[in-house]
Subunit: 242 residues, 2 copies
């Protein structure tokens, strides 16, 4: 009997997943776009020690310095950049992707344009939704975070980091797009390098920021579909000042 109940539950889960996938496809109708259902992970490190110094300096108006050159003996080695766990691993930049996949089980997706479908948006903060995205010969880390910057008022923060150096990151532009209920919100920016802390990017607010009310307007049945596109950057035509 218990076995039958479990089977029935699993079938229901599959139907629900399939339905979510179908809905996301309808929202972002472009043919051939990959829809990726991303489940939440309760963050196990909220204000990690390795970023505390950077956050303190950011609050004092000093540039964040999260590269840890002082702590790393070989300057070619970088610490683990997983936003979820405090991890003692360090290695060369080229093997960060393999480490994130193997040790932290972060999925990787291919394609210039994908739809990131974050489920269970109602879960309490702090919660992260994370995938890697392989595109244009590079790998990117997409982080959606629910966090209470102000107590009792959770907000959603979404950003894209290049698993590469800041110089490499300057060659790209990423776009995050929400589209529902006759409303559309687009954020375009240069990705930050994974060598900078994702925590300080979010605490600086230099990313797509959504209040709970806006997140609800764009959500469908507790899931938020974010269209993602990455392009090689050129100076914005309407931004001559830069």
């Amino acid at each position: 009997m218990l076995f039958l109940t479990q089977c029935f539950g699993a079938v229901l889960d599959l139907i629900h997943l399939r339905f979510q996938h179908y809905k996301a496809k309808r929202v972002f109708s472009a043919a051939g776009q990959l829809v990726c259902v991303v489940n939440p992970t309760h963050s196990l490190k909220y204000a990690p020690a390795r970023c505390a110094a950077a956050q303190a300096s950011t609050e004092q108006g000093i540039l964040p310095a999260c590269h840890h050159h002082e702590a790393v003996h070989d300057p070619q080695l970088v610490p683990c950049t997983c936003p979820l766990f405090s991890c003692p691993w360090e290695g060369h930049l080229e093997v960060v992707v393999a480490h994130l996949r193997q040790t932290h089980r972060i999925n990787i997706l291919q394609g210039a344009e994908i739809v990131f479908l974050a489920t269970d948006m109602h879960l309490p903060a702090p919660t992260d939704w994370i995938i890697m995205h392989s595109c244009l010969g590079h790998q990117f880390l997409l982080v959606l975070r629910k966090q209470e910057k102000y107590e009792g008022h959770p907000q959603f923060f979404a950003t894209m980091m290049l698993i590469g150096t800041p110089t490499q990151a300057n060659n790209f532009t990423y776009r995050l797009e929400l589209n529902r209920n006759q409303r559309r919100l687009k954020w375009e920016a240069t990705p930050r390098s994974i060598l900078e802390c994702v925590d300080s990017v979010i605490s600086d607010g230099d990313c797509l920021v959504l209040n709970t009310s806006l997140a609800q307007l764009f959500s469908d049945n507790g899931s938020l579909a974010i269209g993602i596109a990455i392009t090689t950057s050129k100076v914005h035509s309407s931004e001559a000042e830069m």
Copy 2:
């Protein structure tokens, strides 16, 4: 001597205004776009009595009802929709624009695409920046508001209302665009009718919302340039679900 000092001050003001205008033109380079420098007004009615009922009902999850049909003897008459002042005026929808111009000195601009340059973003909340925008045979009210929804954490809210009925409003789409420092943020939505409260649109968060940190990233020397475009609406191509 005092006269000379005043003259010098006036010349400096003119140079500053010209410089701001020039900067906004550079940010939004499209030729022929009208740049409108909008000075802030300290809001004299923060939670107006005429909207208190609507706000209370919104908090309880009931649809706002700010049409005041019960208070207005002639159902053709609408109350003054100025977001700045509690004003006992009421009149036909067709003369609201004239009332806002003449009594409340709200400027009106022509053009399909304009740049709204809000100055003195640092001023404390509550503060409003307001213009009317005449376009496609209709008049729209653009409101940028700095408000502390959560004490000590001011946010910026920008929305566009049609000076017309909700049915007329459904025929349009407005776009607000911020573009600076290799970052771009776009908000697209159907304008709400001026018959709905601008206060409840903002308290619902159904508008462009900016944290102070994002507002600073998009500001230049204390001024925020918002590109505005209005089009007749069609179903978004990538929103088949609607």
